[in-house]
């Protein structure tokens, strides 16, 4: 991951360098250099002025320097206070000239001091870079610049933007630029009424949280009655659409929470639901999956950094094998002696869970481990007023895929048939030549393996620590029992119901009370339907 990042930075830098050298001459090099070294030796508080000075030159040559500054890659030598852009290299840091980007020597990091920036300076840099790159050759850079200006609403950038929008050919970029212009227009006291009304209309149509913020902060500054009226109308309309999206958002959050619950519970639906083993070590199987992901990522980071994006794909089968293997060992070593005594399995598996937790603690240490999100698992995109985060979406998809595959395995494969036969009538199945012990072992391994795969997914949103399993075990049992033991569909519906119920309660009751209410709901629900949502009927299902 780190290497990849470095690579990206390097590519970006060289690209920007190319942009810079073609864009402008190198006339004012000396004054630029002076400003840069003044910036480096200034106090944190005063650095802002120097950044503004750099931006005011309008010289795109400073862009790579500013970018590096924001990224924390600018250092100066302790000895002579000369300023460099740096990048990591063998044996220390590779020095680069801040303007020409010529490579210099590699020095140890102790002889350098970092030119620190804070959020405020980073914001400044972002605005400055945006102003300088609003007419860049690269559409992506222009888009970024326009978005940055939309956020910073820098009045001085208005003429630049207007020039840019006239020359713009790319529709997306043009849109963003117009949006930025509209935002700045609302701030601009010199703008005409017509311009402002147009901007208000634009935000009314945009209808999101940011638009609401812009319009409501504009309202007190409205100069004419028409403006205030338009603003008030826009606020009303935006609030209405936001309320609608709010409900949609709650459903989405609920489904997303439900998918997490489903993933956590689905392995248990096999080991507990189908086999009747009260598997208190289920959470630890999830944990093993998460740690497998960690190990896979470590190996990839160390040896094959290019494959990081695929780390989860490698981790999935491995997690299945690791957790499944441990499950198999558990079944063969312990659980098979306890069939027909489900409450005893509770004790034994609780013991196993303690051992597994401590084993992981001994091997990996007690602290959280870093499991990175590949790029395709990061970030968010918007559908209307709904922001979908990539990791949640993938987890939902993954949970459903696991569910469907598992259902297929149970319904369509020979193994599934044997499994169902054994759970329904062990003796009959045995007399028909099914090796029931082997089926038990494989079933348990399957359930454990699936829990392991769930661990891979959960590692993307939560802590990877020895306590990981404990976080999910109770919720998992609630889901399986609520849905109805022995019924996969029940687990699906149960998980989703609990997820959505929780998320609809949360805004009103708060997170803690919402969870309590859901638990109370489960307790009362079990009174009504003592066998869960999807109770199996008939004589053979007594667990």
């Amino acid at each position: 991951m780190r290497q990849l990042r470095k690579l990206a930075v390097a590519v970006l830098l060289s690209f920007l360098a190319a942009v810079a050298s073609t864009g402008h001459g190198k006339a004012s090099d000396t004054s630029l250099e002076a400003t840069i070294s003044a910036l480096a030796s200034a106090k944190l508080k005063d650095r802002g002025n120097h950044i503004e000075a750099l931006a005011a030159t309008g010289d795109a040559q400073v862009v790579p320097f500013l970018e590096a500054l924001a990224a924390g890659d600018v250092y100066f030598k302790k000895s002579d206070k000369t300023v460099f852009i740096t990048r990591k290299a063998e044996g220390g840091l590779q020095l680069l000239d801040p303007l020409s980007l010529e490579e210099g020597e590699v020095v140890g990091s102790r002889s350098l001091k970092k030119v620190k920036v804070n959020n405020k300076l980073r914001r400044l840099v972002r605005g400055a870079v945006a102003g300088l790159t609003v007419q860049s050759h690269d559409a992506g850079t222009r888009l970024e610049a326009a978005n940055a200006l939309y956020k910073s609403q820098d009045l001085e950038a208005l003429p630049l933007l207007k020039a840019a929008v006239a020359a713009e050919t790319d529709e997306t970029v043009k849109d963003a630029q117009e949006r930025a212009i509209a935002a700045i227009t609302l701030k601009n006291v010199k703008a005409s009424e017509a311009e402002r009304l147009e901007a208000l209309g634009k935000f009314k149509a945009q209808g999101d949280q940011e638009a609401l913020a812009l319009v409501s902060s504009f309202l007190p500054q409205a100069k004419t009655a028409a403006e205030s009226e338009a603003a008030a109308l826009a606020i009303q309309s935006i609030e209405k659409s936001l309320a609608m999206w709010d409900a949609v958002e709650n459903v989405w959050y609920g489904l997303s929470l439900g998918s997490v619950l489903l993933l956590a519970a689905i392995g248990l639906a096999i080991t507990f639901g189908v086999m009747g083993v009260i598997n208190m070590a289920h959470g630890e199987m999830v944990m093993l999956g998460a740690y497998t992901t960690f190990v896979v990522q470590e190996v990839i980071r160390k040896s094959f950094p290019g494959f990081f994006e695929f780390s989860l794909l490698f981790a999935l089968p491995l997690a299945f094998l690791v957790a499944g293997g441990v499950g198999l060992a558990m079944e063969r070593g312990i659980i098979r002696f306890l069939y027909g005594r489900p409450l005893e399995t509770l004790l034994a598996t609780w013991g196993v869970s303690l051992i597994l937790q401590q084993a992981v603690r001994t091997i990996f240490g007690p602290t959280n481990k870093e499991v990175g999100n590949p790029d395709w698992m990061s970030g968010a995109f918007e559908i209307g007023g709904l922001a979908l985060t990539a990791n949640r979406l993938w987890i939902l998809v993954f949970a459903l895929v696991v569910f469907v595959v598992l259902l297929m395995v149970l319904k369509r494969t020979h193994f599934g048939l044997q499994m169902r036969a054994v759970t329904q009538n062990r003796r009959m199945a045995a007399s028909m030549g099914i090796r029931t012990p082997w089926v038990d072992a494989r079933t348990f391994a399957l359930g454990s393996g699936i829990a392991g795969m769930a661990g891979v997914a959960l590692s993307q949103i939560s802590n990877v620590s020895p306590n990981l399993g404990q976080t999910y075990i109770i919720d998992s049992f609630m889901v399986v029992v609520f849905g109805g033991v022995g019924n996969l569909w029940g687990t699906l519906v149960g998980a989703m119901t609990l997820g959505v119920a929780n998320k609809f309660l949360e805004p009103y009751a708060g997170a803690v009370l919402a969870k309590i209410l859901v638990l109370v709901f489960i307790i009362l629900f079990i009174q009504k339907k003592p066998r869960g949502l999807f109770a199996l009927k008939g004589r053979a299902v007594d667990l």
Binding site: F337, L343, W350, L354, V481, I526, Q527
Partner: protein
């Protein structure tokens, strides 16, 4: 006279253990207070506190055994009753502090003062009276057990479903008591107690008395449970455990029997909690943690469920083991504890008590009628 009557009505083992506990109740405080420090027979304060704690655990295990071992109700939420009893006692002890709190507020406990509570919440009223607190110690758990049991047993929720809803109950209470808005001190719980009925909790004497009370309470509970188990009701309970619907067809109200056992057990657990709190000096929501309730199940299973002294032995062995191992092998003790549970379930399905039976059977080469027979199928598990 009475003892002879009891001797007949009780399980003999239970009788002797109860007698031993009573001796214990006198002996340990004596060895602690009278025998001088340094004497080989001196029992240090540390050990008095530790054993007192175990006695409360043993009571809790006994309470669980009454419902699990004899009535087939595996409660994974017994810690909740224990904690509620503890909170009732804690609230009394809190009110006892009076104006000796750091903010010297005569009514409000410290944690309410610095979080700007204006006045005492209504449910804290009355807890300045010892008798009221003592009534609440058993009434609150009993009411909770009654409501939950009445709902669950009437709807015939059994087996794992029942276990899971008891777990849900204690988990919900855990979350609720964590909330500061509940007015029970949130995560920190109730602590910093000064004295009970005017006796300082920090004096050896008070602690010795608390120890003696715990031992007597355990002995009393043991006698009570033994009387119940040996009565016809006890037989009905076992009948319910082994064949619930058959019992129903005999005309017994299974839900009433279960409810009785459950409520009584909750009351015993509450009492155990109330004795526990002044001895450890703190009650906090951690006691509601589902893992704690599972611990209780484990004590009972290790000692041998369905016997009255099994849970007592189990509670002492497992918590004693925990005390020892956490000091002797701080990095490895979970392996030992986890291994113990696996071994007990695999090789000692009837717990330590059962193992003793098996050993005895082997030693005399004359198996008792049931000693080497496989355990009767466990119908309660099959529901």
């Amino acid at each position: 006279m009475i003892s002879r009557y009891l001797f007949q009505a009780l399980d003999k083992r239970a009788f002797w253990v109860a007698v031993a506990l009573m001796v214990f109740a006198v002996l340990v405080p004596l060895l602690n207070l009278v025998v001088p420090d340094g004497h080989p027979l001196h029992v240090p304060d540390y050990l008095v506190g530790l054993l007192g704690k175990y006695l409360c655990y043993a009571m809790l295990a006994l309470a669980l055994d009454l419902v699990w071992g004899y009535c087939g109700i595996l409660s994974l939420g017994h810690g909740a009753f224990f904690a509620l009893g503890g909170y009732a006692m804690g609230m009394y002890l809190m009110r006892q502090i009076g104006d000796r709190g750091v903010y010297a507020n005569p009514v409000l406990p410290d944690f309410m003062v610095f979080l700007n509570w204006e006045k005492l919440p209504w449910f804290w009223y009355g807890f300045d009276q010892f008798w009221f607190a003592m009534v609440m110690v058993v009434v609150v758990p009993a009411v909770l057990a009654f409501v939950l049991g009445w709902l669950a047993f009437r709807s015939r929720v059994t087996g794992v479903y029942l276990s899971i809803i008891t777990q849900a109950m204690t988990y919900a209470l855990l979350l609720a008591f964590f909330r500061n808005d509940m007015g029970f001190g949130g995560n920190n719980g109730l602590t910093d107690f000064k004295d009970i009925l005017g006796f300082s909790l920090q004096s050896s004497g008070t602690r010795a008395v608390l120890f003696a009370l715990s031992a007597l309470a355990l002995a009393g509970t043991l006698v009570l449970c033994s009387l119940i188990v040996r009565s016809k009701l006890g037989k009905v309970m076992i009948a319910v455990r082994d064949a619930e619907s058959r019992t129903r067809f005999l005309g017994y109200r299974v839900e009433h029997v279960k409810l009785f056992a459950f409520v009584l057990s909750a009351m015993i657990a509450g009492l155990a909690g109330a004795l526990y709190v002044p001895q450890v000096g703190i009650i906090n929501p951690g006691e509601f943690a589902p893992a704690n309730s599972i611990d209780v199940v484990i004590w009972t299973a290790v000692g041998g469920r369905g016997t009255l002294i099994g849970p007592i032995i189990g509670a002492f062995l497992v918590s004693g083991g925990k005390s020892y191992f956490t000091a002797a092998f701080p990095d490895l003790w979970l392996f030992a504890l986890g291994g113990l549970f696996v071994i007990v379930t695999l090789f000692m399905p009837k717990g330590v008590i059962g193992l003793l039976g098996q050993l005895k059977g082997l030693a005399s080469k004359m198996p008792r009628k049931n000693a080497d027979k496989p355990l009767p199928a466990k119908p309660e598990a099959a529901e």
